[in-house]
Symmetry: C2
Amino acid sequence: MTGAPAFDIASLHAFYALGGTPDTIIGRVFARLAEVNDPGIFLHISDREALLAEVEALGPFDAEAKPLWGIPFAVKDNIDVAGMPTTAACPDYSYVAAVDATVVRLLKQAGALVIGKTNLDQFATGLVGVRSPYPIPRNAIDANLVPGGSSSGSAVATAQGIVSFALGTDTAGSGRIPAGLNNIVGLKPSVGALSTAGVIPACRTLDCVSIFALTVDDAWRVFDTTARYDAADAYSKDIPASGYGSLPPVLSIGVPAKADRRFFGDATMEASYENALAMLTMLGHRVVEVPFGDFYKVANLLYEGAWVAERYAAVKPFFDANEASFHPVTRKIYGGAKALSAADAFNGLYALQALKQTVQLLIDAVDVFCVPTAPSHYTLADLAAEPIRENSRLGTYTNFVNLLDMCGIAVPTGKRADGLPASVTLLAPSGRDGLAASLAREIHQAAGVSLGATSWSLPPAFPKPARIDEDGMIDLVVVG
Amino acid sequence: MTGAPAFDIASLHAFYALGGTPDTIIGRVFARLAEVNDPGIFLHISDREALLAEVEALGPFDAEAKPLWGIPFAVKDNIDVAGMPTTAACPDYSYVAAVDATVVRLLKQAGALVIGKTNLDQFATGLVGVRSPYPIPRNAIDANLVPGGSSSGSAVATAQGIVSFALGTDTAGSGRIPAGLNNIVGLKPSVGALSTAGVIPACRTLDCVSIFALTVDDAWRVFDTTARYDAADAYSKDIPASGYGSLPPVLSIGVPAKADRRFFGDATMEASYENALAMLTMLGHRVVEVPFGDFYKVANLLYEGAWVAERYAAVKPFFDANEASFHPVTRKIYGGAKALSAADAFNGLYALQALKQTVQLLIDAVDVFCVPTAPSHYTLADLAAEPIRENSRLGTYTNFVNLLDMCGIAVPTGKRADGLPASVTLLAPSGRDGLAASLAREIHQAAGVSLGATSWSLPPAFPKPARIDEDGMIDLVVVG
């Protein structure tokens, strides 16, 4: 990609500021699509001429007025983009959206350009990225590995440098797992921070729109552009995009107690996680081991409990009439929900409430949690052999998060000893997205890894986040 | 009752302070029981000798250390009192409780004396007070009228002056309707403020323990004694008993818009409600008409939606094995819940969430709401003719309250033109119990009505609640 800028927003905006044109960047997008040559990533690609017309309408480059001016992005295909089909990876369910989802509208208003709609685990049910009737997106780092899901196409498109960022959704980890498996950033906002209006529900009480990006700064800029209360979404909350760029000098960081860590035999992943914790200590933070049994119990509720009925409720008439249109694994999961009673649903809510009461004490005891994003990498062959078990294992550190109303961000921590991506996820209580993202930025900078599957480097950290002392004073970093 | 003090706490404590003994008061309790001679009020009555032994253990009178020293109270029979049977008005379900419910324990610790367990609509399902296999408690004001439920026995015991206060429960209005129909105060705390540990659930996500009392001051003292976070109740919240006794000079009081008021033809109740609103205006407050359609839609969810499945879930094994043990009306309601699916339950939650979003704007627009407690009085004959419809009508202004996480207090406003009790309920957002109670106190004083079915008067208002100006200054009322 000689001569073209990296696709992080800072590099693209520097390119535009120096007179570069979006036409050039759109050209790079299509060239990159051809180079990558993975028919599994996009289920629909924008018309090139239409994109150029959109660029015309943007007016002159102005990053103040339009903070995402000329930035190409992809949209998971369970999120509506006006005039494009929404399939949820279920062709028989497909419809052409009349209006943009709220988040898509906000991004377009900020100057961003929709490149296309991306593949997913059907109806966003899965963490593997292979439960789709379309070709499976290839993991951007190693084509033998599962790409992770359910937002597989969005993560791979970002990791491959085809787009600067992409929208996913995250109910059980779909915005974090594929980020971790493809060496990019995955920001899973506080529940309700981003509107789900125009998004096909998975579990309406838990669904989040999520953000894949090459850098934490970019993910935050997208979050800052889209975190808006929306009366069109009954679960919308007014969660301000605040607190990014400043960190207390010493954070108390909760991690699963050693005995409670689960890597299912992947010693390489375990070692990379320990390295990440050592990095946090070197950065001056305090790592605190926390018993994790109750978090796992919460996680189990998501698929073993009543919440799977939310997935069924979301498409009930379609499922009841068109069971055969479903992916076999998805069909089995949804079909199981039909037998659940309303009493089962409330018993699930009670079980969650009881666990919340004990887990809240642990959450209150630390500033933020740092968990492995995924416990292991799995190959496509592993998945074929154990389609349910390995999917479930991938959710070890993600399934409980939305049930506990936490925000999270997956961030690369470097390469494992075998060269595969390592990643941790930082978790914080609802509304503390800025804190989690600030720590993620610090980790990403310390990790010094290239972005996604590209050779691009993390752009220089400028301005460096100020550090806030515990007494509220700011340590100014004077350069030069 | 010549020579004996009134049973409000101030009068009883004045009696004790002057050397009166609890033995005398216990004597009055049993004498009053005999005078009233209503076998429907209590399902279990404490042993008199055991009560006298309890009094011995209290030590000398000390209202500072024990704010309910020597105060007799009754407990609805879905709340455990150690050593007594709990029946929930379903004899086959009965068990002897091993330990006190948390609220009962706190009250005993504060020096209060359990006189007995009171009758109720079976499993606290109903607002009428006649769905019990035991004799029906008589309305304390007019024996032709329904007593109101589900906490019928507790309300009648208080209104008859047998006890100073009584515990009820309130899921759909069971702590407010019988207060309104028996001319007493019914405090329905914020959801979670009082522990439900040791209480047979109706709808666990909505259940409240409630307080019947002769005066607002007494209800507040009981609330102040029992509002404690309890780790034994997963839905417990830390809601401080604060804000009582001070009122801004002008409250903005939301009332149903004229066109949205429902009295089902009871013009006398309508007139008494209009009188109450005129009283609020005379007290200096601002009455604001609010569209009430969405509140009624929320109310409908409680019995037409999925929440009835919570009732079924609470006693599922018992119901499945012993359907015939249930009251016919209760049995029909619970049986209907068996057919509801988990998808139905979640669809109910979604419908509520959507309504909450619009209703919240109305709630935010005022300080407090003032609604009729009940839209009408019904006779026992009315109920026999329409057992479901009249019950449902009674819940017009109560059913939506817990679903919207509000607190409420029913307070007498005087007599209707026909001499029957008139009552309004003040509603406020969660945690503002003190505000609602302060306004209720002001109304009760202005109404100047005798207490319950007794000839006792409201004790003199001392100390008078201070008024807080909008700028936070306190207007001191200088007496003499």
